[in-house]
């Protein structure tokens, strides 16, 4: 995980005050596979004993993979107003 935080730290990312991702924890609590965790290349989703999923929206690279990964409609994803800016791309 440390390695991931370091690599995310290479990017310019203007993080907003509110999350651009919301999850319906009623669904997440009952989800066995939690596919969002596996597909996210930025470690945005973490298992949470109480709520099922915790969202670290400040890590998000805005790829949108999690939006399509969740087959249960628990995830609401919008692009942030600022967010990531790549230098190379």
């Amino acid at each position: 995980m440390m390695e991931l935080i370091k690599r995310l730290g290479l990017n310019k990312n203007e993080v907003g005050n509110t999350s651009h991702i919301s999850v319906n924890t009623d669904i997440c609590k009952t989800c066995v596979d939690k596919p969002c965790i596996n597909v996210c290349p930025a470690g945005t989703y973490e298992e949470d004993k109480e709520n099922g999923i915790t969202v670290h929206y400040e890590r998000c690279l805005e790829c949108g993979a999690a939006l399509f990964a969740c087959p249960f409609g628990a995830l609401e994803f919008k692009y942030p107003e600022k967010g990531v800016s790549y230098i190379y791309g």
Binding site: L4, R7, N38, P41, C63, G64, A65, S85, Y86, G89
Partner: protein, 421 residues
């Protein structure tokens, strides 16, 4: 309704800017809405563009494009366990494709549209679209824009189509993923996620080299790539979401392994990710609707024929065609009838190549391609390149034996081979 512009373009990437340039050349008024602080700041591509579409769009101005290196060497590498099969093709004469870094390229590309008088509104996030009086109203954090026609160039997630209700994901009731993953409506089947690293590693050559790498994604369906740029090297993986979902490792762990196995040294300069459309030809999302033309990744224009995987030339060409169609639709005065765009697409290489490639893309959806076939090929190579006290084996016997080991029937094998040819 009074309109602000003839056509509004959502997304200032390759497709959107190509549409803007074409619209400007056709005398239409247009605006591009780009959510990044500049074009390219949100864009990621594997890193190689086949340049025919760009040349067609720009004509002689093409020579100013900030591309990286012309790709003159192609290498295919297939790994299976400790074994690796590879083959290379070099052509010093070709300038068919270039390595590319999108942040730099798209910023320049957008300035080409701006030089033609098309405004590009940066840091502008479209948050909704409404139909009103036969036209569309785009809602953004910089205000509303009223337009009779929208060109959607907002990438694989296609939010514009989503806002208009043209694309909807099927939501399944809660159950283990294993029970629904083969359902055609299971959305993860339709996408790949690309993870990419820029490495501080400069090639000694004055030309670029492309490597396509299979078998280093730790069992996840997908492939790897590496392209040399002027000053850096791009490496990355494209991973199928449905396969990644049930995998024990996460995407960022797989790419760490990947780089180590490739043995490319140098400091990591950037880590990025992007969604890639991977629709089957017969299940592509809508490409046109009333007042709407859909281009590039948003329309699912990714072509994978086994030798080349390409989206950028399709994005540019579909953007150009959308700009041409916009003019035709504008002249007709009926913005509900957008079929002119579909006609242009059908006559273009985009739909023709996608159709032709659709057979082989089924090959990339099955486990045999990533598991059994590389093992089989490596098994044949191993026995043909080994010498011992035993009499040499006949290649026909070796092949028959290795095919048998895979447990795949001859019929399936031949069927798969025919897909490639």
């Amino acid at each position: 309704m009074d309109y602000d512009v003839d056509v509004a373009i959502v997304g200032g990437g390759l497709a959107g800017i190509s549409a803007a340039i074409t619209a400007a050349n056709k005398g239409l008024s247009a605006i591009v809405l780009e959510r990044g602080e500049r074009s390219g700041s949100k864009n990621v591509s594997g890193g190689r563009m086949y340049i025919h579409s760009l040349k067609k769009l720009l004509g002689p101005r093409f020579k100013d494009a900030p591309l990286e290196l012309p790709i003159k060497k192609e290498t295919f590498e297939i790994y299976t366990g400790e074994k690796k099969i590879s083959f290379s093709f070099e052509n010093k004469d070709t300038e068919n494709s270039y390595s590319i870094l999108r942040s730099k390229f798209d910023t320049w590309f957008a300035s080409e549209a701006e030089n033609l008088g098309i405004p590009v509104s940066y840091s502008t996030l479209v948050s909704g679209i409404d139909r009103e009086d036969g036209g569309l109203v785009l809602r953004s954090d910089r205000g509303d824009i009223r337009t009779p026609l929208v060109i959607e160039s907002d990438g694989a997630a296609a939010f514009t189509s989503r806002y208009l209700g043209l694309v909807k994901e099927k939501k399944f009731p809660m159950q283990p993923v294993a029970k629904i993953e083969n359902n055609p409506d299971f959305m993860p089947r339709q996408f790949m996620v690309g993870v990419k690293e820029i490495i501080d590693n400069k090639t000694e050559n004055d030309y670029g080299e492309a490597r396509t790498i299979l078998g280093l994604s730790n069992g996840v369906k997908g492939g790897g790539f590496s392209y040399t740029n002027r000053e850096t090297t791009s490496i990355g993986l494209t991973l199928k979401l449905d396969s990644l979902e049930k995998h024990k490792e996460k995407a960022f762990e797989i790419i760490e392994d990947f780089r180590e196995k490739l043995g490319i040294d140098g400091k990591l300069l950037e880590y990025s990710a992007h969604l890639i459309p991977f629709y089957r030809y017969d299940s592509l999302p809508p490409r046109y609707a009333e007042n709407l033309l859909v281009t590039g990744d948003a329309a699912g224009f990714l072509i994978n024929d086994g030798f080349t995987i390409r989206g950028m030339d399709n994005a540019i060409e579909s953007g150009r065609l959308a700009g041409e169609a916009a003019k035709k639709i504008f002249d007709s005065g009926d913005f509900r009838d957008t079929f002119a765009y579909e006609q242009l697409l059908e006559d273009s290489f985009i739909l023709k190549d996608m159709k032709a490639a659709s057979r082989i893309s089924t090959l990339f959806g099955n486990e045999r391609t990533f598991d059994a076939y590389p093992q089989m090929m490596a098994g044949i190579m191993e026995r043909m390149f080994s010498v011992s006290d035993n009499p040499r084996e006949n290649i026909k016997d070796v092949m028959r034996d290795e095919v048998k080991k895979t447990g795949i029937g001859y019929y399936t094998l031949i069927e798969d081979m025919l897909k490639v040819i």
